[in-house]
Subunit: 583 residues, 2 copies
C-alpha cells in the first residue's frame, strides 16, 4: 500500500500512529543532524522529520539526496510539533520518518511549484503537468469540476435529460468557421465538428424529449483573440412547451443556485434590461452593473451652444467618474490620449470637473456656462468631486467608445470586485444585424431565432428594427449565456431563410433535415447555452478562461506541450485521398 | 402558458380542475358525436374527450381534423372516466376539452410511433427525431442519462475530479485509426481526435491531481463492425499512489453501486479469473458466467485411443450442453453444419449423448468404450440428458470455436437472461501479443501498461509469456471496462518502447512529452476505462449500443438523418490548403 493517509489529513489526534505517506518533496531543509521535508499531495502538506538520533543512518543518507519534486514514500510515527504552523491544517504534527523510498526522482523543475511561480506563461504551458501541481491551477480545475456537478444535479432535479449529441456532423453555412474531418470510409467527404449542438437539440425537442441539456465541447476555427479557444465547452439547454419567461426563470434559478452553492453568495431576482436600454445606458449589450457611471445623453443641452464639434455630432454623451475631479491636468491629458488609442478610437474627450465648492471647470468653458454644465452634471448624475467625461460622434460608435472608457475607469477605481456578482438579463435583442462586408442582414443570434410576433410585419419594411425573442445572461460585464425562443413553424422558418438571403435550395441543402422535422409536429421550444469556460472563470473570480482549462491552446491554436497540430505522414494522407498544397 | 400539467400527472384527485395540456396526438377515435384523443408527451398519455353536448361546435370541428402526431394545446376540465384504463397512471381521468389550438400540424409519419413500430432500421435512423418519440428509444436515452449521473455522483463522492481533456490533439502511432482535423491557422498541419485520453490522464497524475475521471467522447476511424461507432463514449478514470487491488476495489464498488441504483440488483463480490484460466475454461477472455458449460480438457483420455483426428490434434476439448441429449440426429447434423460455418471455422464436431439409462451414445463409438466416454462426461461435468460437444485442433483456434459453440447453445437454451448480471474480473493479461501481419509483438493493452515485476526478465527471453498488470471488467460476456497499472519509470518505459519496435527517435517523436513528464517526479498510477455505450446497453438489458445513442451512425459511418459526411466547397478546401484526390 502506497499510503495510509493523504498529506492533508493528519491532526494532533493522530499522534503516535504509525502511518505511510506518499507525495512530492515541496522543499527540504538539511541541518545535518536533522532534515525537514515538506511532503505535498493534492490534499495538503505534511512535514516530515529525519533526526540522526532517531532515524536510521541509511535513511538519513537517502533523505540528504532528496530534491524538489522527488516522489517519495515514507513510513513513520506521527508526533506533535514543537513549533506549530497555524497556517496549514496539518501544522500541529510531523512524521518522524523510519523508512524512506524514492519512487521517482525529479530533475529541477523549469519553474517553481509555488502559488506565485517564476515561470512565464509559455513555459508553464509547455510543462502544463508541472503547472497543474501548483495550488491555484489545481484548485481551478477542482472548482470547475464542482461547478459542473452542481449544474448537472440542478438540471437533473428539474427533469432535464443529458443527451450526448454527435461530434462528427455536417458543415453548416457559417462553414468557414467549421473544423472539418476527412472521412476515410466515405471518399472525398468530410464531417464537421459542431460549433454548437443547436440543430440536434432542436431535433430532440421535435423528438419529444421535453427538457434537454448537455455539457459539451464545441469547436470554432476562427482567428483567436486573446481569450478564445478553438475548443470550448457549453452548457447547452433546450425546453419544449415554454415561453421566454419560463426559460429566464429556470436559468435564473440555476445561476442563483450556483452562486449560493459554489460561492455562498445570495443574489436577488436578476434585473432585466432591453438591448435598447443597455445600449443607451451603458453603450454595451453586456453591461457590468456592479458599479454606476450610467450614460447621460447630453445632446439636447450640448448642441444648444456654439461648440461646432458637438453640434455636428449625432450624439453627445457623458459619464460621471466618481471622485475623479482630483485628477491633474497631466493625468487628464493622458486619459485623453487613452481614448484616442486605436483600440478605443475616439477623436477627443471633453471633461468637466465638479469642484468641491459646487462650481464646474471644463475643457469647454468658452462655450458653456456654469448653468449649462450643471445640466450636464444632472444628466450624468455627477456629484461634487466627480469628473464628467464626454464623447461625441456617430451614435453607435460613440457609445462603444464611452463604454470602453467607463470600463477602464471602473478598473482604475477598483470597482470591478471579482467577489461581487451582479447578474442581469438583457432581452429583446434585434433579430438581424447588417453586415457591411456582405451587404446583407445576418441573424444576430442564429437563423432559428423567432422574431417577436408583433414585429414580424416589419421584416419586409424595417428589418433592422425587428426584435427577437432572444436573451443574454450577463454577469459582471460578461455574456455568460444566451438563447432564444425558436421558430417551430416551417413557413416562418422558410421566411427567415429568405430574409437571410438563402435561396430555398441553399436552405434545403443546409437545413433540410430540420425543415423536414418541422413537417411532423414540432412543439414550441426555446433554449439557452452557457459558455462554461467563461462562467467558471467568472465564478472563480478571474478573467482568463485559460486558467480554468486543463490543457489550453495558445493564441495560434497550438498545444505547445504535445506540439499539436503537426504534420501527418504521406500514407495517412493517401488513405484519406488528400493532398496538402503547401510545404 | 403552454401547460399547467404534463400528460403523465393527472389523477382522480385532480377531478374538476381546469387544466391546460400540450402534446402530441397519439391517436384519435371519432364517433361523430364524441371524439377521444390520446394526448402524449414525454411523461405519459392523457385521454381527451370532445363531446358535442358539452364541447363548443368550432372546437369539435377542429378536433375532427386532428391527425396522428399533430401538436396541440387544450384547455378543459379533469373528469373521472367511465371506463377506466388500469394500464396507465392517468387512466382514471380524462379531460373534457373546452378550447383547442393546433400548434403544429403533422404529415403522416413514415412509421408508427408505437413501442413496436412498423419502421425498418434505416427508415427509423433517417427520421430519428420521430423514432425518439417512441417509448423504448426515449426511455433508453433517459436511462443513459441516469447511469451517467450515478457514475458521476459515485466518483465525486470518492474525491475524483472530472477534468475535460482536449479533443484536438496529435496523431499517435496507431495513427491509421485517427480521425484528423486540418488546421487553417497552422498550414499543412493536422490535429487528431483522441482514441482515448490516455496520455492526458497520465499527465494529470504527473500533475498531482490524484484521482481523475471523465465521461468523454472518443473517436476511431476503423472499419465498422456491426456494433461499433466511429464516435463512442468512455468513462475514463485514473488514480495515483494505488496498486491494482485499489483500482479493482473502487470500480467494483462503482459497478455494484450502479447495479443497485439503476437495476435494483444486489451483486456479491466479483469473482476474479486469470486470463489463462478464462482461456482454458471458456476459450474467451470475456466469458459469460451466467451459465456453466465450462470446458473439459479431454486430450489425455481422447488421445489414448486410435482416433486419428484427435491423436493429431493439439487439444481435444468439450462442453456438456444441458438437456441436449434429446436432440435428433438431424438437429445434431445441423449443429455440426453450424460449427463448420466460416464464422466459426471448425472442421467437425464429435458428440456424446448422455442417455437417461446412464449409457453413452457417441459419434465415435467405434474408437471409445463406455468407460472412456464416462471419463469425458466427468471432465465436462455432463449429467444424464446432456449432450457433450467435442472439438479438436490447434489450442487457441479450437478454444475460440468451442467458445462460439458454447455461446450459441446458451442463446438457444435461453441461458443468457438479460436481467441477470454476472460481473467478473479477468486479470493477468499477457503484456504483448504477436502480430502475424507485422511479424512483431504489439502491446495487448497499450504501451504504457506495466509488466508484472517478476516477469520483467522474460521480456528478452520469452516475451509472449510476460504478464501485465492489466485487467478487464466483464459483464455478461462483454468487456465493459479495461485498464492497467501504468509504467511510471522512464527507463522501463524506454525498454517497453524498444520491445515494441520503436526506435528511440520514434518513441520521442510520438511520446516525447510523456517521457519528459516522467523526468519530473511521476507518481505510481493506474486506471481503467469503461465503454459507456456498452455498459449502458447491457445494464439496459439490450445488446445493441445503437439503441442507447441519440443520433448513431450506420455501418458506413454515415449519419443518414443529416446526410454526413458530405462534400465541402472548394473555398473551404483552399483555406485549409487541401486538395481532394478522388472525384
Amino acid at each position: 500500500m502506497y499510503r495510509t493517509h493523504d498529506c492533508g489529513s493528519l491532526r494532533v489526534s493522530d499522534v503516535n500512529k504509525e502511518v505511510t505517506l506518499s507525495g512530492w518533496v515541496q522543499k527540504s531543509r538539511d541541518k545535518g543532524f536533522m532534515i525537514w521535508v515538506d511532503l505535498r499531495d493534492r490534499y495538503g502538506i505534511t512535514q516530515l522529520i529525519f533526526d540522526e538520533d532517531r532515524t536510521d543512518e541509511t535513511v538519513m543518507k537517502t533523505a540528504q539526496t532528496l530534491g524538489r519534486e522527488y516522489v517519495i514514500q515514507v513510513k513513520g510515527t506521527v508526533i506533535e510539533r514543537e513549533s506549530k504552523n497555524a497556517k496549514i491544517p496539518t501544522g500541529d504534527v510531523e512524521i518522524l520518518v523510519k523508512e524512506l523510498k524514492i519512487l521517482s526522482a525529479s530533475k529541477t523543475p523549469p519553474f517553481t511549484i509555488e502559488d506565485e511561480t517564476d515561470g512565464g506563461e509559455e513555459l508553464r504551458m509547455k510543462y502544463r503537468y508541472l503547472d497543474i501541481r501548483r495550488n491555484p491551477v489545481r484548485e481551478n480545475l477542482i472548482f470547475r469540476s464542482k461547478v459542473a456537478m452542481q449544474v448537472r444535479n440542478f438540471l437533473a432535479s428539474k427533469d432535464f435529460v443529458e443527451v450526448e449529441t454527435p461530434v462528427l456532423i455536417k458543415s453548416t453555412p457559417e462553414g468557414a468557421r467549421d473544423f472539418v474531418v476527412p472521412s476515410r470510409m466515405n471518399e472525398g467527404q468530410f464531417y464537421a465538428l459542431p460549433q454548437s449542438p443547436q440543430t440536434f437539440k432542436q431535433l430532440l425537442m421535435v423528438g419529444g424529449l421535453d427538457k434537454y441539456f448537455q455539457i459539451v465541447k464545441c469547436f470554432r476555427d476562427e482567428d483567436l483573440r486573446a481569450d478564445r479557444q478553438p475548443e470550448f465547452t457549453q452548457i447547452d439547454c433546450e425546453m419544449s412547451f415554454v415561453e421566454q419567461e419560463d426559460v429566464l426563470n429556470i436559468f435564473e434559478e440555476m445561476t442563483r443556485h450556483l452562486l449560493k452553492e459554489v460561492k455562498n453568495v445570495q443574489v436577488d431576482k436578476f434585473p432585466r434590461m432591453t438591448y435598447q436600454e443597455a445600449m443607451e445606458k451603458y453603450g454595451n449589450d453586456k453591461p457590468d452593473i456592479r458599479f454606476g457611471m450610467e450614460f447621460g445623453d447630453l445632446s439636447a443641452f450640448a448642441k444648444a451652444r456654439d461648440f461646432k464639434i458637438f453640434n455636428e455630432a449625432e450624439i453627445v454623451v457623458g459619464i460621471a467618474v466618481p471622485g475623479a475631479a482630483s485628477m491633474t491636468r497631466k493625468e487628464i491629458d493622458k486619459l485623453i490620449d487613452w481614448v484616442k488609442r486605436p483600440q478605443v478610437g475616439a477623436l477627443g474627450m471633453v471633461y468637466v470637473k465638479c469642484n468641491e465648492d459646487g462650481s464646474f471647470k471644463s475643457s469647454v468653458d468658452k462655450f458653456y456656462s456654469q448653468e449649462d454644465l450643471a445640466q450636464w452634471a444632472e444628466a450624468t448624475g455627477a456629484q461634487t468631486g466627480d469628473l464628467i467625461c464626454v464623447l461625441s460622434g456617430p451614435t453607435n460608435k460613440t457609445r462603444t467608445q464611452l463604454s470602453a472608457l467607463r470600463m477602464e475607469m471602473a478598473e482604475r477605481l477598483g470597482l470591478r470586485n471579482p467577489e461581487e456578482f451582479a447578474p442581469l438579463w438583457v432581452i429583446d435583442f434585434p433579430l438581424l444585424e447588417w453586415d457591411e462586408d456582405t451587404e446583407r442582414y445576418h441573424a444576430m443570434h442564429h437563423p432559428f431565432t423567432s422574431p417577436k410576433p408583433e414585429d414580424i410585419e416589419k421584416l419586409s419594411t424595417d428589418p433592422g428594427n425587428v426584435r427577437a425573442n432572444a436573451y443574454d445572461l450577463v454577469l459582471n460585464g460578461n455574456e455568460i449565456g444566451g438563447g432564444s425562443v425558436r421558430i417551430f413553424d416551417k413557413e416562418l422558418q422558410a421566411l427567415m431563410f429568405d430574409h437571410l438571403g438563402f435561396t430555398p435550395e441553399e436552405a434545403r441543402a443546409q437545413f433540410g433535415f430540420l425543415m423536414d422535422a418541422f413537417e411532423y409536429g414540432a412543439p414550441p421550444h426555446a433554449g439557452l447555452a452557457f459558455g462554461f469556460d467563461r462562467l467558471v472563470s467568472i465564478l472563480g473570480g478571474q478573467e482568463t478562461i485559460r486558467d480554468f482549462i486543463a490543457f489550453p491552446k495558445n493564441n495560434s491554436g497550438r498545444d505547445v506541450m504535445i506540439d499539436a497540430p503537426a504534420a501527418i505522414d504521406q500514407e495517412q494522407l493517401q488513405e484519406l485521398n488528400l493532398k496538402v498544397t503547401v510545404e
